[in-house]
């Protein structure tokens, strides 16, 4: 199994991989934790990886990010109430990504004092026990994309993923160019509406999710914005 350099430094691989769950204690010391963690995480791995990929520069970085996220999630499993596992995991993923970016570019902010203050602020808000659930632009988009009917998603896939022209898309699907445009417009409008529903309309929120983000629009993640959190829970 591939592990990142970071993982090699911080993770000790135990021997006897043939041990069963029954005779292998978890860090939390119970099979209940093992079962709970697996039940929360395994169904969400595709969403986690896709979100990580949209936040990372490469597929390898995305996989590393998910692995780091899983380690942090397991450490915090005993403090998780079991509700909204996807939102819980995605919040850890986002915080992990911000932390990794900060470590990679420690001098990005030139003012040492401001950097220190922001890092202290960041540290106060990113402990797993203080996780605040907030929507992530990329996840909202990809979730909405996944929920599109096939006739809409196929058009979006050809234009945005495969880079096809409207004409080529029309030819490939055997439909008029006007229908391609109509479906594309309606598909993106559905995604756009979901972004509004999640409270991600602001330019700050839109731009915060990029791979270069150091401190995004969610610096104030401890503010407990109930409306956004409720939206997130409903949507995720």
């Amino acid at each position: 199994m591939r592990t990142s350099p970071v993982m090699n430094c911080v993770v000790a691989l135990m021997e006897s991989p043939r041990k069963t769950e029954a005779d292998t204690p978890t860090e939390a010391g119970s099979n209940a934790s093992t079962d709970a963690f697996n039940s929360y995480v395994l169904p969400e791995l595709p969403v986690l990886y896709r979100t990580a990929r949209s936040l990372s520069r490469s597929d390898a970085d995305a996989e590393d990010l998910v692995q780091d996220t899983l380690l942090r999630a397991f450490r915090a499993i005993d403090r998780f109430d079991g509700r909204y596992p996807r939102a819980w995991l995605l919040t850890i993923l986002r915080n992990t990504n911000i932390n990794r970016a900060r470590k990679k570019k420690p001098d990005l902010l030139n003012d040492p004092e401001a950097t220190f203050e922001r890092s202290q602020d960041f540290a106060e808000h990113t402990g797993p026990e203080e996780i605040v659930l907030e929507p992530i632009f990329e996840t909202v988009v990809l979730d909405a994309f996944d929920q599109l009917p096939e006739k809409f998603s196929s058009v979006v896939r050809m234009v945005d993923l495969e880079g096809k022209s409207y004409g080529d898309t029309a030819a490939a699907l055997g439909i008029p160019v006007g229908t391609v445009m109509s479906r594309l417009h309606r598909a993106r409008k559905r995604i756009r509406d979901e972004i509004s529903a999640q409270g991600l309309d602001s330019t700050e929120a839109v731009l915060a999710g990029g791979g270069d983000v150091l401190f995004g629009a969610n610096d104030d993640s401890g503010d407990g914005d109930a409306n956004r959190n409720n939206n997130n829970r409903g949507g995720l």
Binding site: M1, R2, V10, V11, A12, M14, P17, K19, E21, T24, P25, T26, E27, S33, F37, N38, V41, L42, L45, P46, L48, Y49, R50, R53, S54, D59, E63, V66, Q67, D68, L70, L71, R72, F74, N95, T96, R100, K103, T126, F137, E138, V141, L142, F145, V156, R157, D160, L161, S165, Y166, M181, L184, R188, R192, I195, D201, T203, V206, L207, G209
Partner: protein, 97 residues
Amino acid sequence: MGLFSIFKREKNLNCNEVLEVLQSYLDGETDETVARQVSGHLSLCVNCEPESVIYQRIKTTIAVGGSDIDETVLSRLEVFTQRVSTGQIVVPTDLEG
């Protein structure tokens, strides 16, 4: 007419007209004239410019994250998850973040 057409200003699109062609503009499917008109409008309009940013970000997000996932990557992550949960990979207590 030929002389005066040199000085004829390009049509100014209103917001509704821009939103009608915004998707085509972002997809590079408009002709140069329309593209120039839309671009000019977006540079001045506080309502349409943010819409353009959001739709462009939607396109980018799908382009990067919307492709199918390599099953071998998912398999590796599933194994990793199970090894973490069963203690075969120990989470260090001083793990940052």
